[in-house]
């Protein structure tokens, strides 16, 4: 046995912030917009903007060379941009969903469109970022050429949605108060969804196996990502829980952002919906509900026999997800 355990864990802990080369192209407040350097012949078409969730860091999209959705997309010749929302602090507590969607996300889109002299781009929203992408597309349909949602909740009241049940009777305004919501509190909540697997079994899996350097490094990078949880801007968090989890406004066609109605039924652009069949955070039914909302859009749903995190980093996801996205875009 080589010394593959603690030293590999320590080494992996030091630098998990993404593996592909990228450059900062725009920033506003704590937001950073990155453009990835190409690694293959350009496939043509509009650039692809990845909109990740607020609740974890976006480097999960590019964790390591053999576990990188972004690398797969670059290898397919796509021109990839990524939003990094940053770490909100006390000064961001009044940042609202309208700020995130109509200022930050929309600002990134405008910046990319100006750079490429285009009128529309491709949008890939992941998890909560998928909800933001749907909202943006609903508000600015002419700015989005193709919309891709990945493990994205749309119907927040499906029977398997444990998070939704837990927050249904919580006074979210009192819970948030006028502050931010700590990332540690959210981690506690997520671990409570499957406490035996997430706080016991996965460590036994790691420690009881014969230590292998690559395995340990991968485990520690994922572990770092899981617990590298930014605090949530209080106002946006309060709105997200109230409007989506408690009132299910997107599903009920009652959502307004910055005073403008989000009309998914008027969306007529091509939509690809990527669903994890074993997703415990976003049940498949919560995602697949999108089909009934997007009017006569050119809608495609692809289901993968994977969990929420497996959709980003499993070996199977590396083989199948980027290829599915690139293939779908190539035909549109």
């Amino acid at each position: 046995m080589s010394d593959a355990g603690p030293s590999a864990a320590a080494a992996a802990s030091r630098g998990a912030t993404g593996c592909s080369q990228k450059e900062l192209v725009w920033q506003s407040g704590k937001l950073r917009l990155y453009r990835y350097r190409p690694i293959a012949r350009p496939a043509g078409g509009a650039p692809l903007l990845i909109v990740y969730a607020l609740v974890n860091r976006p480097y999960m999209m590019d964790l390591q060379e053999d576990r990188s959705l972004i690398r797969g997309l670059l290898a397919a010749g796509l021109d990839v941009y990524l939003i990094d929302w940053g770490y909100p602090d006390g000064a961001d507590r009044f940042t609202t969903l309208a700020d995130y969607i109509e200022d930050y996300l929309a600002g990134c889109v405008e910046r990319i469109l100006l750079t490429h002299r285009l009128d529309a781009l491709n949008l890939l929203g992941v998890c909560q970022g998928g909800v933001f992408s749907l909202c943006y597309a609903g508000l600015h349909p002419r700015r989005v050429r193709n919309l891709i949602t990945m493990v994205t909740p749309v119907d927040f009241h499906t029977p398997a949605d444990l998070l939704s049940k837990w927050v249904s009777k919580i006074d979210v305004a009192a819970w948030v108060g006028e502050g931010n919501v700590s990332g540690d509190a959210l981690n506690q909540l997520f671990l409570s969804l499957m406490p035996f697997r997430l706080t016991q079994q996965k460590y036994v899996d790691l420690l009881a196996g014969i230590p292998d350097r690559a395995l340990v490094e991968n485990f520690v990078r994922v572990e770092q990502w899981i617990f590298d949880s930014p605090d949530q801007a209080g106002a946006a968090f309060r709105e997200f829980v109230l409007w989506f989890y408690q009132e299910n406004r997107l599903m009920r066609d009652r959502l307004e952002i910055a005073g403008r109605k989000v009309r998914l039924r008027d969306l007529h652009l091509p939509v690809l919906n990527l669903i994890g069949k074993r997703d415990h955070l976003v049940p498949p039914a919560a995602s697949s509900a999108l089909q009934g909302l997007v009017g006569d859009a050119d809608y495609t749903a692809l289901e993968f026999d994977l969990g929420h995190i497996g959709m980003y980093i499993s070996a199977r996801a590396q083989r199948e997800v980027p290829a599915a996205i690139a293939g779908w875009l190539a035909t549109r």
Binding site: L24, E102, R117, L118, W175, A185, M194
Partner: protein, 301 residues
């Protein structure tokens, strides 16, 4: 220290894979350091599993009793492994509340407002305690159900040596049973109500605590969170007005690069950020919706 950790890791692996080559014994005197608690738990699990397997060879009655004993062992082992129910307010949730006897006194005189606040805190702390007890009870129910399911799955009990494969199979089966039982409880109305009561009471407790701290801060002429929040809101409002004015100025310009609905974002895109570059003089090409649809159809063909 790294060497000690490494030896502990190997010792843990040895519990699960006895007889594997190159696996040393447990480092001496490791106490509660590093992986030591995992090793202790692993050794207890292995000993209990061995009793189960031995019991399986002793006839039907002994086997059933062994399965029951093993299930009870697991239930006890995991009793303390519950999630930390503090609603994100930290382990001190509910602490610092005055004695509940305050709630009996009439709130009169110059201390009236403080007394009312303490009474509300005390009441919130009582509700927190109640909700935590209910959650603990539900956790115990889940473990009891898991143990029963596990014992049922052990019929007929396995027999043979406690090798790595047998240990892992038993452990994984237990985790499956525990997770299934917990999921049933966690989806129940009783659990959701207890969670909500805990969070809501915790919110009130924190709100009263903040109010008390702000009161003392004002007496000492220290800045309070409320004052900072007021300033932050004013600043945000000014920023929004500035962006709106910038956007309005841009849309009034004939060569405005952004369409009206996106003016707010365009103002931000153009105005902010240290990577400011010369503004492009060419407006993005616009197409009518019909023209775009046609272009898309054409591309599909």
């Amino acid at each position: 220290m790294a060497d000690d950790l490494w030896r502990q890791w190997q010792a843990f692996a040895a519990v699960w894979a006895p007889g594997a080559p190159g696996v040393p014994g447990r480092p001496p005197g490791d106490g509660g350091f590093g992986f030591a608690p995992f090793i202790d738990a692993g050794e207890r699990f292995k000993a209990a599993a061995q009793s189960l397997l031995d019991g399986a060879a002793g006839g039907p009655a002994a086997a059933t009793q062994a399965a029951q004993n093993f299930s009870d062992f697991l239930r006890d082992e995991f009793a303390g492994a519950r999630p930390p129910w503090n609603a994100g307010f930290g382990p001190g949730i509910g602490a610092g509340a005055p004695d509940s006897s305050w709630s009996e006194w009439p709130a009169l005189g110059p201390m009236r407002e403080h007394q009312l606040r303490w009474q509300r805190m005390s009441e919130a702390a009582r509700r927190i305690d109640d909700a935590q007890r209910r959650l603990q009870r539900l956790w115990s129910d889940a473990l009891r159900q898991a143990a029963a399911d596990f014992a049922a799955r052990l019929q007929p009990p396995p027999s043979g040596a406690a090798d790595a494969e047998a240990l892992r199979k038993l452990y994984d089966t237990w985790i499956d049973c525990a997770e299934d039982a917990y999921a049933r409880i966690a989806h129940s109305e009783a659990f959701c109500n207890a969670q909500a009561d805990l969070v809501n009471a915790g919110s009130q407790w924190r709100q009263e605590l903040q109010a008390g701290i702000e009161h003392w801060a004002k007496l000492l002429d220290l800045p309070t969170r409320s004052e900072i929040n007021t300033l932050a809101l004013r600043l945000k409002s000014i920023e929004e007005q500035l962006r709106a004015a910038t956007a309005a100025a841009r849309t009034a310009t004939p060569a405005a690069p952004a369409a009206a609905p996106a003016a707010r974002a365009a103002a931000r895109a153009a105005a902010s950020g240290p990577k400011a570059r010369p503004k492009p003089r060419v407006a993005p090409r616009k197409q009518s919706p019909a023209r775009r649809r046609n272009a898309r159809r054409k591309a599909k063909r």
